[in-house]
Symmetry: C2
Subunit: 182 residues, 2 copies
């Protein structure tokens, strides 16, 4: 039954190959045999982590995001170092770099597609409990502020739109479900 | 304090202008005055809707997504018809086209950034209760199957990864919170 949904690639043109993104402009054959075009952004994939300390505070980062021209409040996250890096290794590295410190084991909350309509970005989201912050170890060109906010208050900030980054909403809501916090 | 986080655009080059996406390769000045590059995908913006009928079933769509090469289960969604279309109008249009039928008022659940690290895509998510399905009215080149799944079962499918599209996870979890379903 699903066969009627598939599209077949007819041709593919690489438009751009950047440090992070690749852009393809492809032709596909639709289930009705018509030909149409698809614009596809290739992304190496990413991870995000919800670190929660013993006071039930989530460790968040405030970070300027150039594409949206806003400072956003997000859970720590980062891109895979190439498609071959295991997500769990990337999660450990990013947490150490952006936040510093360590916690218990990495609990896998979800693997999501952030925007499957135009990009193949896949993201693994982890929860780390009993997290203890230390000094972070930012890349030279990474600028962010760390803030700590009670999980309950994070949920309020999602409701009122102060936290509006998709991966952060998903990570925090799934952490709540995992911890069975009302 | 946030001032230290901002990046200043130094130059911008349009690499691609497609039917949907634009890609820019920009130079920016970092807070430490170093110059670096940014790859930015411009997207017109989008909406998504969680339609729930009187049996507490969510109306979902199964749809092939070319960028990820998978059939995904998602809430109905669509792109704005240009950046000027009011999201609520787009939500009504898309719901009618993809699913057909009508419900009560559109309850605004959230406005999210789907992937702020590389794209400016902004998405408004709505909840529609007491939804009654009628025949849909798909574009010639739109292929999807409609399925109805109890809200409780949708939540299980999020947990086990069968629903893994970011906007759908957020819409369904926020609908649960709105309806205060355990």
């Amino acid at each position: 039954m699903d066969k009627k949904l598939y599209e077949e690639k007819v041709s593919s043109r690489e438009i751009f190959k950047g440090k992070i993104l690749k852009l393809y402009f492809d032709q596909v054959r639709l289930p009705n045999n018509k030909i149409t075009t698809r614009e596809k952004v290739e992304h190496p994939g990413a991870v995000a982590v919800v670190p929660i300390n013993k006071k039930n505070e989530v460790i968040l980062v405030k970070q300027y995001r150039y594409p949206v021209d806003i400072v956003l409040i997000e859970i720590p996250a980062g891109k895979l170092d190439g498609r071959e890096e295991p997500p769990i290794e990337c999660a450990k590295r990013e947490l150490k770099e952006e936040v510093g410190g360590q916690g218990g084991s990495f609990i896998h909350l979800a693997q999501i597609f952030t925007s499957p309509g135009f990009s193949d970005e896949k993201m693994d989201i982890y929860l780390v409990l009993d997290f203890e912050e230390k000094e972070n170890n930012l890349d030279d060109d990474e600028f962010l502020h760390i803030i700590k906010i009670k999980l309950k208050d994070c949920l309020k900030m999602i409701k009122n739109g102060e936290i509006n980054d998709a991966k952060s909403i998903i990570g925090i809501m799934m952490a709540r479900d995992y911890l069975e916090i009302e």
